[in-house]
Structure formats: structure tokens, C-alpha cells
Symmetry: C2
Subunit: 199 residues, 2 copies
């Protein structure tokens, strides 16, 4: 079975669009997708940017919000502008990393995106994260304790370093076993097709 | 008949992809497309960038070249990396502007893109531009004389100002009569559909 890594950042608007549809289209394509939460902040900083490019270039940011509204409508997913942008997704990313390849990580990640881009909540709020964990059937306190361990922190840093080493500069991104990189929700189908043909 | 403005910059790789296919897909969609050459340089400068973002952020640039090769293959158009990037498309843009809505402007624009991204020529070279004009059945000397007139220079500046006022920050872009902006070759079909439904 072909494999594809789906790299996502919890603050990323277009990552939300992919998260809500990747399971369906990957199943149709017969591709096994590994969810890879990472942090864009350190990558932007390495490129000399101390904020989202959508804030650094406000004209581009204005376009992104309009495009997101249109894309969400086309994909039939709800979308509201978040309470702030970009939100701090560090703790949510540590939680997701702490779950490894467990099934609940996907439901948790989609729950965080829904809190952020549908329910207009702050995803750095530990109460919000706990509520999402509970909806996923997890023991929130136990997961949060593990998520704050040095081991998980190091694993998230290593994953972000791996993303940078793969040439990732934005989210969502997709990487294949043979080293191809695809960037953006618009490239999901091409990435799946590449994985199907070349894996 | 629905109408759509296609904004293109001669240095822009993704504008090339659109230029080679827009006539076919617009005819299928029943949309009248107006070709609008403009300059990205002044717009980038207004955003504080003195070079292409693909050069300012080399990791993003490396991705763009790989993505262009893949997109060109998918669209079945030839593509080679140009002799330099971004090339200076000022004179070519003035020539295109000087032709107004004449049919030869489309053939000329595609000819310039072919010189740049297939034949690896310098599109700021007046000999290259003259050759493309001659292939389009134009009197190169007469067109070049008109292209260097104050009137044409002012018209290109005004068009670039109009692009900026419409919120355009990259190329290709598409604008509709009701004020929608779409950015990128990937959005051509959505822009045509919007024009079809709302114009």
C-alpha cells in the first residue's frame, strides 16, 4: 500500500481543509496517510520571518481569508475566522505527537481544528484541549502530563527539524517515500497519485 | 457572456502555465477573457520585497522549480528553467500593452513565454522580442516604436496600479466584474466558474 506523510500545523488555515478531507480521499486512492503534526514557527524564523507571511504581507493575508471562505464552501466544510491568527498550537501539537500513530490523534487533530476554525475558541487554552481529548475518549490529565514530558517535546522538535530538512516551508505539506514534496491543500490529490504510482 | 481579466507578468512561471491553456478552458466555460499584462516588480517593492519571493526564500524557490516541472508535465506543456529568474519583462509588457485587445497580443505573449521557458532566451533582448513579433505577423520596428511611447508606458503603469488596487500580489491572478480575486494557475477553473455564475 502506498504511503504519504501529511504535515500539518494547528495554526494553519489550509491544513484545516486538508485534515477534514484527507481520510476520505486517501481511502479512495488506497494510500496510507501518516499524520505528522509539526511547528511552522521555527521554520518561518529560520527564513527570517517572525510572524505568519499572511500577517507580514497583509494584502496576501486579505486574499487568504477570502480564498479560505470560498474553498471551505466548495469543500462543504464550515469555516469562521479564528479569534486570533496565527494561534499558538504548541501544546496541541505536543498532545498530537504524544499519541504517536494511535487512531485518536486524527480525531483529536480534527477536533482542535473545529475548535479553532468553527467554534472560535483559543486552542492554546488547556481547557479547550482537555475538552477535545475527552470527546476523543481520552484521559485528558494523563495525556496532558505525557504531552509535557521532555521526551514528547524532543520528539516534536525532531519532527519539525525533519520537516525543514525535507524542504517544507508551509502547511499543509505532503512527502512521499521517494522524496517528493507537495505543498498546499490544492496538491493533496497529486501527492496521493504520486504515492500510488511510485511507492 | 461572462468576462474575466487574466493578469500576467512575463517573468512569472505559473503565468506561463495559464497562458498556454487559458484560451482552451475559457472557451469551454464560455467566458470572454481579457489578457492584462502587468508588472509584479512595483507590487513586490510596495510590500518591501526587492526580488521575487522565490529568491528571497530559496527553500520556497527550490520547491517552485520542482512543482513547475511536475505541473508542466501534468498539463503536457514543455518547460525548462530560464536563463535567469526573474527575467526583466518590462519591454515585453509594453509591447503587449501597446497592442490593446488585438488578437496578436495573445500569440505574442505565448511566444514570449515560449522564448523564456522553452527556448531559454532572454526576453529583455530586443532581438528576441522582434523575432516573436515577426512570427505574429507584426512590423517589429513599428510595434517597438509605439511600445516605447510615453502613452504606452503610462498605460502599463496605470494597469499595474489597477492590479495593486484590486488586491493583486502575485501572478497569474484573475478578477471578475463583481470584484472577486483569484490567485494562481490552480484557481483558473474556479475563477471561470465564478464569472460564469455571477457575471
Amino acid at each position: 500500500m502506498g504511503k504519504l506523510d501529511f504535515w500539518y500545523e494547528f495554526a494553519s488555515t489550509y491544513s484545516y481543509l486538508t485534515a477534514m478531507r484527507v481520510e476520505t480521499v486517501a481511502a479512495e486512492a488506497g494510500i496510507d496517510v501518516r499524520w505528522r503534526p509539526f511547528l511552522l514557527g521555527p521554520i518561518f524564523q529560520a527564513h527570517g520571518m517572525d510572524d505568519s507571511p499572511f500577517n507580514i504581507y497583509p494584502v496576501k493575508g486579505a486574499y487568504m481569508w477570502r480564498d479560505m471562505a470560498r474553498q471551505a464552501a466548495l469543500l462543504d466544510v464550515p469555516f469562521r475566522e479564528p479569534v486570533s491568527f496565527p494561534q499558538n498550537g504548541l501544546l496541541a501539537a505536543r498532545v498530537a505527537i504524544s499519541g504517536g500513530d494511535a487512531d485518536w490523534v486524527r480525531a483529536f487533530s480534527k477536533g482542535i481544528y473545529q475548535a479553532e476554525f468553527v467554534d472560535c475558541l483559543s486552542i492554546s487554552d488547556v481547557v479547550v484541549i482537555s475538552n477535545v481529548l475527552q470527546k476523543c475518549g481520552q484521559d485528558a490529565d494523563a495525556v496532558l502530563a505525557k504531552a509535557s514530558s521532555d521526551q514528547v517535546k524532543a520528539k516534536l522538535r525532531a519532527g519539525t527539524d525533519e520537516a525543514a530538512a525535507l524542504g517544507i516551508f508551509g502547511a499543509p505539506s505532503f512527502t512521499t517515500n521517494d522524496g517528493e514534496l507537495f505543498w498546499g491543500n490544492d496538491r493533496l490529490e497529486q501527492a496521493l497519485e504520486w504515492a500510488r504510482k511510485n511507492d
